[in-house]
C-alpha cells in the first residue's frame, strides 16, 4: 500500500482549472519528481497535498487515512513541505525556526508551560536536541544563533528543509529546492534529498532542472495544464514524445 494516495484531485480558481483530476501515489522511501511547464499547477497540487488549499474535488489519503481540513492537520499526519518562494520566520533565529517545526510533536499546554514542571523541561530538552541534530544534518550547526533573514539563499533553503523535517514527516514535499543555486549547491541538494530518503522519509520534489530530476528520482510525473500527462521511470519519461512536445509547445520555464 502506498504512503500517499491522491485520487482525482482537482482545484478550480474561478474559471481556471489549475489542477485537473490528478492521481498520484508515493510509496515508502520513494523519491518522486514532479515536472511541468510554468503554470502547470505543480505548486497548486502541493498546496492541496499540504492543506493550504482545499481541493475542489478528489481525495487525499495518507497512511490510509483521509486528509482534510487545516494545514496543521496535514503536518501532524506526517506531510511536511517547503515553499517555492522561501517562507521562513525571518526575524527568528535559525534554531528557533527549527524549534517551531517541533510544535506539532510537542504537547505541553498552558499550565505546564507556566508551571515549568519536569514534563515541560523534558520535552523542551528533547526538542532542542532534535533541532540541534537536524541543523547538523543540513550543515547549519554553526548558524544556530543567526537571524534567519541574514542567511544566504542556499542556507535559507536548507533551513526550510530542517524546519520541515523537525515535524518528523513521513513525506516531504519540496517545491523547487534548487532554484537559484549553482551547480555545486545543486549537487549538494540532491545529496541532501537522498540522505533524507535514507532517514526513511519519502520525498516528492518539484523541479525544472531535468538533470537534477532524472538523476535523483525513482519515478517522475509530468503535469501539463493541470493534468498528469505521464508518470513513470525517469528513462521512460525522458524519451516520451508527449513530454517533449508539451515542453516545446510551452514557453520555456
Amino acid at each position: 500500500m502506498s504512503l500517499l494516495e491522491v485520487r482525482g484531485v482537482t482545484k478550480r480558481f474561478e474559471g481556471l482549472l489549475a489542477v485537473d483530476g490528478v492521481d498520484l501515489d508515493v510509496g515508502e522511501g520513494d523519491i518522486l519528481g514532479v515536472i511541468g511547464p510554468n503554470g502547470a499547477g505543480k505548486t497548486t497540487l502541493f498546496n492541496c497535498l499540504s492543506g493550504l488549499e482545499a481541493p475542489t474535488a478528489g481525495a487525499i489519503r495518507f497512511r490510509g487515512a483521509v486528509l482534510s481540513g487545516r494545514p496543521d492537520r496535514f503536518t501532524r499526519a506526517g506531510v511536511a513541505r517547503t515553499f517555492q518562494n522561501i517562507r521562513l520566520f525571518p526575524h527568528m533565529t535559525v534554531f528557533e525556526n527549527v524549534l517551531v517545526g517541533r510544535h506539532c510533536r510537542t504537547h505541553v499546554g498552558l499550565a505546564s508551560a507556566i508551571g515549568r514542571g519536569p514534563k515541560f523541561r523534558r520535552e523542551e530538552h528533547e526538542s532542542e536536541d532534535r533541532a540541534a541534530e537536524l541543523l547538523g544534518f543540513v550543515s547549519l550547526d554553526q548558524a544556530g544563533d543567526v537571524v534567519a533573514r541574514n542567511l544566504s539563499y542556499g542556507d535559507q533553503r536548507r533551513l526550510e528543509i530542517a524546519r520541515a523535517l523537525a515535524s518528523e514527516p513521513g513525506l516531504l514535499l519540496l517545491d523547487e529546492p534548487r532554484a537559484g543555486m549553482n551547480a555545486q549547491e545543486t549537487r549538494a541538494t540532491a545529496d541532501l534529498v537522498r540522505r533524507i530518503r535514507d532517514r526513511g522519509v519519502a520525498v516528492a520534489v518539484i523541479e525544472h532542472d531535468m538533470r537534477f530530476i532524472f538523476g535523483l528520482c525513482d519515478r517522475v510525473a509530468v503535469l501539463v495544464q493541470g493534468r498528469k500527462l505521464v508518470e513513470g521511470l525517469p528513462a521512460e519519461v525522458q524519451g516520451d514524445a508527449r513530454v517533449i512536445e508539451a515542453y516545446l509547445g510551452a514557453p520555456a520555464g
Binding site: P71, D72, A80, R81, V100
Partner: protein, 541 residues
C-alpha cells in the same frame, strides 16, 4: 581605558556650565527653585550641574563617548531652554532671565561643540564580561535603586517647569547612558541574574509606598496604574506576542469590573451573592476569558486589521449593552458605593502603620495589585519562552508558514485572546474596589486606545515596556496639569511620532525591534529611505 587631557573647549564649557548653575537665573523672585539666588543650586539648575559631571567623558576614552557627550551638551542646553521659556513666561520678557542662565547656556553650547569635535572613536562594546556574582548583583541593585530614586524624585517635583526640566534631564541622561552601552549591558545582566533582578525589582515596588511619608496622593495614582498595568501586560500577550491588534480590549476589563461590582455586596448590586474575593478575582478573569473565546472564535480567521475593527465593534457593543441592560448593570448610572475589601478582619480601606510609616488605604490595594502583576509577569514570560510563545511569534511572522509547520493557528490565537482577556478580567475586579464604582462610560474606545498606547509606547512584547507605558500614561497627565486641556492632542501626536520614529517603543523586545526596523520589501512599493530613523535615535523618542 586611556585617560586623555581634556580639550580646552570642554574645560571652558564645563566651567561655564558649573558657574552658571551656581548663579541666579532669574531677575525676579518667585520662580520655582529660588532662581533669583546664587550659591547652592535649586530647581532646574541642579540638573545642569549634574549634567556637567558628564564632562568626565572628555577624560575617559569610553566606547561611544562622542554621542554620549553630545547628549550631555544638548541636554544641558535643553534644560536651560525649557527654563528660558518658563522664566520669560513668569517674569515677562527676556529681561527676566539673569546672567547665570546665559552663562549656563553658553557653557552647554561649548560642551556640545567640544563633543562634536571628539573623534567618532570606538562604539560601545557589544559583549560584556561575566563579573563575579557579588558585583553583578550589586549592579542590578544599583540599577533598580536608581530607577526607584528617579521615580520618587520625579514625583516630588510639583512645579510644571521644573518637572519638564526633570523629564528633559532624564531623557538626555538616558540617551547618553544608552550610547555608552549601559542599557545593553544591563539587559544582558538582568537576563543572566533574572531571579535576583525580579526579587529586587519587586522589593523596590513594595518599598514605593514607604517613600511617600504617609501622603496618599501618588499611592492612589499608583493604585490605578497597578490595575492598568495588569491589563496592559495582558494586552501585550495579545498584541506584543501574538500580533493581534485588539481595539476593544477594555471590554474585558469592564467585564471583570462588573463581575467584581456585582459580587461586592454593594448596596446597589443586582446580584446578592457573596464569595471570597480571591474567588471573585478568578471568576472575573474566567468570565472575561469566556467572552474572549466567544468573540474570538468567529473572528480570529480574519486578517489583522479587520480583526482590529471587529474587536472595536465588540468593545462598543459591550459598552452600549452595559448602558441599556438596566436589570443587571443599572444602565448609565452603573453600580456605585462598592465597599472596600475586607479579609480576616483587615479592612483594605483603612490606613495602617508599618515600620513607622502610615500607609493609606490605597497602599493595600497597591500591594494586592503587585501580587497580580507578579502573576501576570509569570504568565507572560513563561509563555513567551515556550513552544506556545514561539508559535505566536511564528504566526506573527508568517501565518501560512506557521500553519504549514504544524501550528494550529486558530487555537493559538484563541489562547492568546483568552489569556489576555483573563488578565484584564482579573484586573477589572480589583479596579471595581479601587474606584468604588463601575459605569459604562469608563469603558470607551478611548480607554482601549490608552491600553494599546501603553503597550506600543512602552514596547511591544516586553513586560518592562508595558509597566513603563502604563506608568507614563498616568503620571504624565497628573504632572503636566498646565497642559491638561491639550492632553489628548499631545497623545494623538505622540502615537504618530512614535510610530514614525521609534515604532518598537521605549523598551523593545529584540525581535520586535528587528521586525519593525528592517522592513521587508513586500507589499506596495515604497519610497527609498522609508526605513525609519537611524539606529540609536533618542531613547525618549
Amino acid at each position: 581605558m586611556n585617560t586623555r587631557k581634556p580639550p580646552a573647549l570642554a574645560v571652558a564649557g564645563t566651567a561655564a556650565l558649573v558657574a552658571g548653575s551656581l548663579s541666579p537665573w532669574a531677575t525676579f523672585a518667585g520662580y520655582p527653585g529660588k532662581m533669583s539666588l546664587g550659591g547652592f543650586p535649586g530647581g532646574a539648575r541642579l540638573f545642569c550641574l549634574l549634567l556637567a559631571t558628564g564632562a568626565v567623558l572628555f577624560v575617559l576614552d569610553l566606547g561611544g563617548r562622542r554621542r554620549a557627550a553630545l547628549a550631555v551638551g544638548i541636554g544641558a542646553a535643553a534644560v536651560v531652554a525649557v527654563n528660558f521659556a518658563g522664566l520669560m513666561d513668569h517674569g515677562g520678557g527676556i529681561g527676566s532671565v539673569a546672567w547665570g542662565a546665559w552663562l549656563s547656556l553658553a557653557g552647554a553650547g561649548l560642551l556640545t561643540a567640544a563633543a562634536w569635535r571628539l573623534p567618532a572613536g570606538t562604539p560601545a562594546p557589544k559583549e560584556w564580561p561575566v563579573l563575579p556574582v557579588a558585583v553583578e548583583v550589586a549592579a542590578v541593585a544599583a540599577a533598580v535603586l536608581a530607577l526607584l530614586g528617579a521615580v520618587v524624585w520625579g514625583l516630588r517635583i510639583n512645579e510644571s517647569s521644573r518637572f519638564v526640566s526633570f523629564l528633559v534631564f532624564v531623557a538626555f541622561v538616558s540617551v547618553a547612558v544608552h550610547h555608552l552601552g549601559v542599557f545593553e549591558a544591563l539587559g544582558v545582566l538582568f537576563a543572566r541574574r533574572q531571579r535576583i533582578a525580579l526579587v529586587l525589582g519587586g522589593a523596590a515596588a513594595v518599598a514605593f509606598p514607604f517613600t511617600q511619608q504617609g501622603n496618599a496622593y501618588w499611592i492612589r495614582v499608583f493604585a490605578s496604574i497597578g490595575v492598568f498595568a495588569v491589563a496592559a501586560i495582558g494586552l501585550n500577550v495579545v498584541v506584543g506576542l501574538a500580533g493581534l491588534l485588539d481595539l476593544g480590549y477594555v471590554a474585558f476589563f469592564g467585564v471583570g469590573a462588573y463581575v467584581g461590582a456585582l459580587l461586592s455586596n454593594a448596596a446597589l448590586t443586582t446580584v446578592h451573592f457573596h464569595v471570597p474575593f480571591l474567588f471573585v478575582v478568578l471568576l472575573g478573569g474566567c468570565v472575561a476569558a469566556v467572552f474572549g473565546l466567544v468573540i474570538g472564535t468567529p473572528t480570529l480567521r480574519l486578517r489583522g486589521d479587520y480583526l482590529a475593527i471587529v474587536t472595536l465593534g465588540f468593545g462598543e457593543i459591550f459598552r452600549i449593552t452595559a448602558n441599556n441592560w438596566d436589570g443587571l448593570t443599572r444602565g448609565p448610572n452603573g453600580i456605585s458605593g462598592i465597599p472596600d475589601l475586607a479579609a480576616a478582619g483587615f479592612d483594605f480601606g483603612e490606613s495602617h502603620a508599618l515600620f513607622g510609616v502610615t500607609l493609606p488605604g490605597f497602599a493595600n490595594y497597591y500591594f494586592v495589585e503587585l501580587v497580580l502583576i507578579a502573576g501576570a509577569i509569570l504568565v507572560f514570560t513563561r509563555l513567551n519562552d515556550s513552544r506556545i510563545g514561539r508559535a505566536w511569534v511564528a504566526i506573527r511572522e508568517d501565518e501560512v508558514a506557521a500553519a504549514a509547520s504544524g501550528i494550529d493557528t486558530i487555537r493559538l490565537k484563541l489562547m492568546a485572546f483568552a489569556i489576555g482577556a483573563f488578565l484584564a478580567g482579573c484586573a477589572g475586579t480589583v479596579n471595581a474596589h479601587v474606584t468604588t464604582q463601575v459605569s459604562p462610560d469608563s469603558y470607551t474606545f478611548l480607554e482601549s486606545i490608552l491600553l494599546v498606547a501603553a503597550v506600543v509606547l512602552g514596547g511591544m512584547g516586553t513586560v518592562p515596556g508595558a509597566l513603563l507605558g502604563s506608568t507614563m500614561l498616568f503620571v504624565l497627565p497628573e504632572k503636566l496639569r498646565s497642559f491638561q486641556d491639550k492632553r489628548l492632542l499631545l497623545f494623538g501626536a505622540a502615537l504618530i511620532l512614535v510610530m514614525r520614529f521609534r515604532p518598537e517603543g521605549l523598551v523593545p523586545s529584540k525581535r520586535r525591534r528587528r521586525e519593525l526596523r528592517e522592513r521587508a520589501p513586500e507589499g506596495v512599493p515604497g519610497l527609498p529611505g522609508a526605513s525609519g530613523a537611524p539606529p540609536g535615535s533618542p531613547v525618549a523618542g
